[in-house]
Symmetry: D2
Subunit: 360 residues, 4 copies
Amino acid sequence: MSDERADSGPDERRDARPTAEAAGAGGGVGGRPPFDIVRVGHVELRVTDLDRARAFYVDLLGFVETERTQEVLYLRGLEERFHHSLALRRAESPGLGHIAFRVRSADDLARAEAFFRRLGRPVRWVEAGAEAGQGRALRAQDPFGFPVEFFCEIDEAERLLQRFDAYRGAFPMRIDHVNLFVPDVQAAHDWYTAELGFRCSEYTETAGAQPRVWASWLFRKPNVHDVALMNGAGPRLHHVGFWVADTASVLRACDILAAAGRVAALERGPGRHGISNAFFLYLRDPDGNRIELYTGDYLTADPDFRPIRWSLDDPRRQTFWGHAAPPSWFEEASPVEDVRDGSFVPLSEPLLQDRPHTVT
Amino acid sequence: MSDERADSGPDERRDARPTAEAAGAGGGVGGRPPFDIVRVGHVELRVTDLDRARAFYVDLLGFVETERTQEVLYLRGLEERFHHSLALRRAESPGLGHIAFRVRSADDLARAEAFFRRLGRPVRWVEAGAEAGQGRALRAQDPFGFPVEFFCEIDEAERLLQRFDAYRGAFPMRIDHVNLFVPDVQAAHDWYTAELGFRCSEYTETAGAQPRVWASWLFRKPNVHDVALMNGAGPRLHHVGFWVADTASVLRACDILAAAGRVAALERGPGRHGISNAFFLYLRDPDGNRIELYTGDYLTADPDFRPIRWSLDDPRRQTFWGHAAPPSWFEEASPVEDVRDGSFVPLSEPLLQDRPHTVT
Amino acid sequence: MSDERADSGPDERRDARPTAEAAGAGGGVGGRPPFDIVRVGHVELRVTDLDRARAFYVDLLGFVETERTQEVLYLRGLEERFHHSLALRRAESPGLGHIAFRVRSADDLARAEAFFRRLGRPVRWVEAGAEAGQGRALRAQDPFGFPVEFFCEIDEAERLLQRFDAYRGAFPMRIDHVNLFVPDVQAAHDWYTAELGFRCSEYTETAGAQPRVWASWLFRKPNVHDVALMNGAGPRLHHVGFWVADTASVLRACDILAAAGRVAALERGPGRHGISNAFFLYLRDPDGNRIELYTGDYLTADPDFRPIRWSLDDPRRQTFWGHAAPPSWFEEASPVEDVRDGSFVPLSEPLLQDRPHTVT
Amino acid sequence: MSDERADSGPDERRDARPTAEAAGAGGGVGGRPPFDIVRVGHVELRVTDLDRARAFYVDLLGFVETERTQEVLYLRGLEERFHHSLALRRAESPGLGHIAFRVRSADDLARAEAFFRRLGRPVRWVEAGAEAGQGRALRAQDPFGFPVEFFCEIDEAERLLQRFDAYRGAFPMRIDHVNLFVPDVQAAHDWYTAELGFRCSEYTETAGAQPRVWASWLFRKPNVHDVALMNGAGPRLHHVGFWVADTASVLRACDILAAAGRVAALERGPGRHGISNAFFLYLRDPDGNRIELYTGDYLTADPDFRPIRWSLDDPRRQTFWGHAAPPSWFEEASPVEDVRDGSFVPLSEPLLQDRPHTVT
C-alpha cells in the first residue's frame, strides 16, 4: 500500500497555530486548569410543546424518557448511565437554556465558582433537585455569553445498551458535543484552551499573512470534541451532537422522518465532514432547534495529538463529498439564555466572513 | 402496529393508468410478445481514454476486468457469470454505443429481426466475436431512436461472488437497468409494454383531466426495472444502473472517490428515491457518462403486481428525503449512436415540461 | 485483479448432474409444466399458543399482523403487498399445516387439480375465505408427502416498504423459500424439475462413481430458491426462510432475542452458507418451528444458469466460515399434515447418510 | 418505553467488589499513580515467517505497513498517526515479545524505572531507534511475569483515516487492548488498579461467600479496556484486540479469510460479548498468535463509572447470543518473553477453575 498522495487534504504537518495551544494541549505541562471538566454532560433546550417534542425525540428518534415533570422532559441515550443528557424545557420560544459540563468532584464546583467570580462573570447556584436527578450545580455566563452549568452529582438510570429489544428509531447512544456560533472564535478558542484546559483536535483558519482561527474543535473527553466554536453571530447554539453507533442509524433516521411526514426536519446530510471525519445528519426539531446525529470520529487520547489544520476554503473541510450546505445551516441558530433571568443574550456580529468562499 | 396514515405517498390503490398495461402486464394473457427478452444484459459506453476509464471503473469502483482489446474494455460485476455487463469503447466523444438485452434463445433473435424489419426500423447483424465473448447478435434502432442489441450466446466468466478477497471499491454486483430520456414517454411506455412484453412497476403521471405518463419503470426480470423512461430531450441515455448489495457500498463509493480527489464524480446522492425505494448514488465517469449505484428495490414476480402511480409533483417521488437534484441531473445525458453508421441520433424536445414544479 | 485460484470451492464448470435438469431447467425447451407456479406464497405453521407466537413473531421479530381470527394469526413482511405470507394456526402441537404456492391464473388451479388427480394424489378444494383474505385454493399431498396448496387470488394489504416509521425488530421483508427434509432427494428433485418446472440453482452431490443428489435448491421466481430439498427423515419441514435487506438486520435479531431473554431461539448462526451465498440465522419459535432470516443470495433470471455443484464433503458448502451446525439443526424438523384429515404424515428414513462426514 | 425487566443480566447496582477499586478508580482522589500511562500503544508478536505474516495482516486484513526491517514488520491501523501499533518480529516460534504502553512524558519513563527498580523487577532500557520509529523506552517484567514496555516518543506516520481509497480488508482502525491469561487475577487486578492507576470497567466474579475476581477489564484511555485479565495458566497473551469501525468490517474479515482458503484462522465468532458489549471475531494468525477484531464498546470517561459485575456462570457474559467458544479459545495462548534474555517465562497454573461451568 503506497502512502504517496499529491493532494492530501488537511495539513497535519504544519505547526499548530492556535496561540494558546501549547498551554491548552499540554494538559499538565505548565499550569493545570482551575477546575477539572470531564465532558459535556447535557443540554437544556427550550421547546414550546412538550408533547410535540416528545413525539419527535422519543417516538421517532428513539431517545429514552427518564422522567417528565410539568415543565421538563428528561431524555437520555441508550448507552448512558445517568438521568439525562437532553432536557427539553417548556418555554414560549425555542432556544438554549444551558449547556452543562460534568466536573470531576464537588471541590471542582467550588473552584469553578471562585474562577468565574474572579472574572466578574454572572454566577448562580442551582440547588439539588431543581434539575431533576441532579445534585447542586453552578451556572455561569462564560465570557462569550454562553450559559454554562457545572455539575458533579447525578442520579444513575438504567443503561439500556444491551436492552436491544428496547431500541427504537435512530438508536441514539449518547451526547457527544455542542457546537456554538461565536463572533470571535480566536478569543474563545484561546480562553477555552488556556483557561479551562480544553485541547484542540482540529481547526479552520483563514488564509493570508495573519491567519485567524475561524472554527475550532475542542475536547476534554478524548474524542474529537465536547465543544466546537464556529465563526458567526453569537452567542448562539448551532447544534447539539448525539453519537450513534453506525452509518445505518443515520440513514434510518432519514427514512423514519420522511416516512412520518417530517421531511422538513432533514436540514442537511447525510454526508461526511472532512473535519472530524464524522458521518453526519442535521435535524431541526419541531421548534427549530438543531441536533446532529454523528458517528465516525476518532480517539484523541494521546497527549501530543497535534491539531489538524484546515484552510477555510478547502472544499473538503465541511463536506468531504462536495455537497453544499443549505443557507439555513449557516444562518440559523438558537439564542441563549442569560443565567440570571432567562432573557436572551444579545447577539454580536462575527469578526470574520460568515462562511467560506466555497459556499455560495 | 397501526396501518393508518394520513398522507400516504404513492397511490397504490388507483387503477393502473398506462393504457397498454393490461396487455403488457398480462404476460401470457392475450398476445405473447414476438420475442422473449430476459433482461438487460450490458451497455456499451463511449469513452475517450481507456486507461482513464479503467482507473475509474476498475481501480476505484471495483468493476472486474474480463478482457481488454485495443478498442474496448470489457467489465463485469462480482455476481455476474458472463463475459461483460459494461463495455467501454474508445471513441472521440462520450455517448452510448448500444443497450443490449439478453433473449431466451437463438430463435428469439430471428423473431426479433423479423419484428424490427416489419416495423421498417434499421437492423443489422453483429457477427459472433465482433463483440468479445458474445455470439451473433442483432442490432436495431427502436422507434424512439435507441440503439438496442439482442443477444443470446455469451461466454461464461468466473463468478466472483464468493471471492471476497477480490472485492474492491464499491463492490459492484451486476447491471440492473438503463434509464432513458425520451421525448414522448407515453408512446414509449405503450410500445415497450404492448409490443415487447415489458411490465410496469411504477410510473409518474402529470396532473389534470388528461394525465400523461411522465416517467415509467419497466421490467422483464422481476425487480423494479430493466428500462426506465423519463420525459426529456431524446433519445439520450440518462444513466446505467448497477446493483450493489447494501447502503454501505454506496457510502464507501462516496468516500473512495472523494479521497481519490474525484469529488466531481459525485453528482447526486446518496439518497433514497420514493420511486423504486432505491438507495442511490449518481456518478459521472471521467467522460461524463452517468452511472448509478443502486440498492434497496423489491421483487415484482407476481403477475398481478399493479403499477404504483406517483403524481409528478409529489416531492417524495424522486427524493424521499427532500434533497434537490442538481440541474445537471435533469439536463445532461449521453447522445446515442445510430446502429447503421455510429453517428449520433438527432434530439427532439420533450412533449411535457422537463421537470416537476417541485424542482427549481 | 487476478482470477486465478487453486482451490475454488464449488465446481461451476462441471456438467450439471441432476438427471432431470435438462428438461427442468430448459423452461420452454421441451414440455411446459402442466400449470404455472409463480413462487412460494405462504406457509401455515401450527403453534400451541397464539399470544406467545405473536410476541415472538410480531413484537420481537417485527412481522406485521394483517388479521387475527380465533384460530389463526395472519402475518406479512414489510415489502409484501398481500394478505399474508405466514399463517400461524392454533393446534395441539407444532408442525406444518401446508406450504402454499401462488399460481399465475385461475386456470392453473384447474390444471393443477387435474394433474394431481391424474397422479392419484389426495386433493381437496379450500373455499374462498376459509383461509382469510384468500380466494378458492387447491390442496394436495405431493408424491413425497408434503401438503401443498395452490392459490391465485389473495387480498392486497398495505405494503409497508416505505413506512420506515413502522419498522420493528429484524425488519422482515418477504417470504423467500421453504426447506424440506426428504428421504429421497434425487427423486424429489427430478419430480419438481421435470414435472413442475422448477429450475435448480445449486445442488449437493455425494461422492463416488454413482453420485446422488443429496440436497437441491429449486426456484420458480428467479433467485436461488423457492424450495430446498435436503436428505433426511421425512416428509418434514426443515424451515421457512424470510428475506431481510441486510446483514445488520440479522445481527439485530440476535441482539433483540438475547436481550429479551430468548437466547434459546438462536439455534444456528449468524453465518454464511457457501451454498446460495446466504448470510443466515436460524431461529426456533416458541413451539420449536424453525425459521431462517436470510439475505445475500443472487439473481437467477438467465435461462442458461447452470446449477452450481457442491461436493457433500466440501466444508465450505454449508458453512463458509467453518462453523459447525448444532446436532439439532440436522435432526429436528416439523412433521407435516395430511391434507385430508390434518393428521401427521408418517416418516421414512433417508436413503443417504444424514449429514456430511465433515460434521461431527 | 418501559424500563422493567425481570432478568437483567449484569448486576450494575451492586457495590463494586474489586478491593482496590476505591483507590484505583478514584484517579486523583488519594494517591496518584507513580507514572502516567496514557494507553496501550503497541504489541510485539513473534512470527516465524515475515512474508507469511505480511500476507495475513496486510494483504488479507488490511493493516498498513509503515516499515520493514530484516527482522521486524511494523504495522499500523488506518486511524493511527504513529509509526506502529503492531510489530511482527521474526523468531523461531510464536509468542509475545512485549506489550508497550504509552506514557505521558519523558519524566514518566524515569519514574517508571524507579518504580520497577523499587519493586526489584527486571528492568532495561531500549535505546532510541532500536525499535524503529521509537524513542528511548523502558522494558520491565511486571510482577505477574508480563514483558511490558513504556515509551513516550514515537515518529508520526501519515494517518490514513480519510484515505478511503487505500482501505483494504477488514479496515483495521487502531489497537484497542491486550488480553492476558493470569494465574491470580485478583492479585493482578489489585496491582494494576492500586499501583498503576488503571480503572475497572467490568469484571467477572466467582460465586460463593468469598467471591474472587475471575476476570477484569481495565482501562487508562476511557473506553472499556487497555488490558483485560483472565483466569488461566500464565503469564500468557490471550489476544491483542484491534478496533474496527462497524460490524460489517468484522463480517467482511470472515468472508475474506474464508475466500482466501484461510478458514482455519476463524477461531471464534462473529458474536457479541455480554461483557464490554463488543461485537467480536477471534483470529489465529499463521503462527497461531490470536488477535481480535472488535467494535461496539462504550465510553468510560466519567470518574464515577462503577464497574459492571458479572457472575462467572451468567451465560450471557462471554457470549450474549449463547454460542459456545471452542476449547482452543480457553486453552491456547502465547508464551511471553523475559525482558532480560528473550527466553519464555515459565507458566503457573491458575488459582481458580479455568472456565465457567456453563462452558463444556
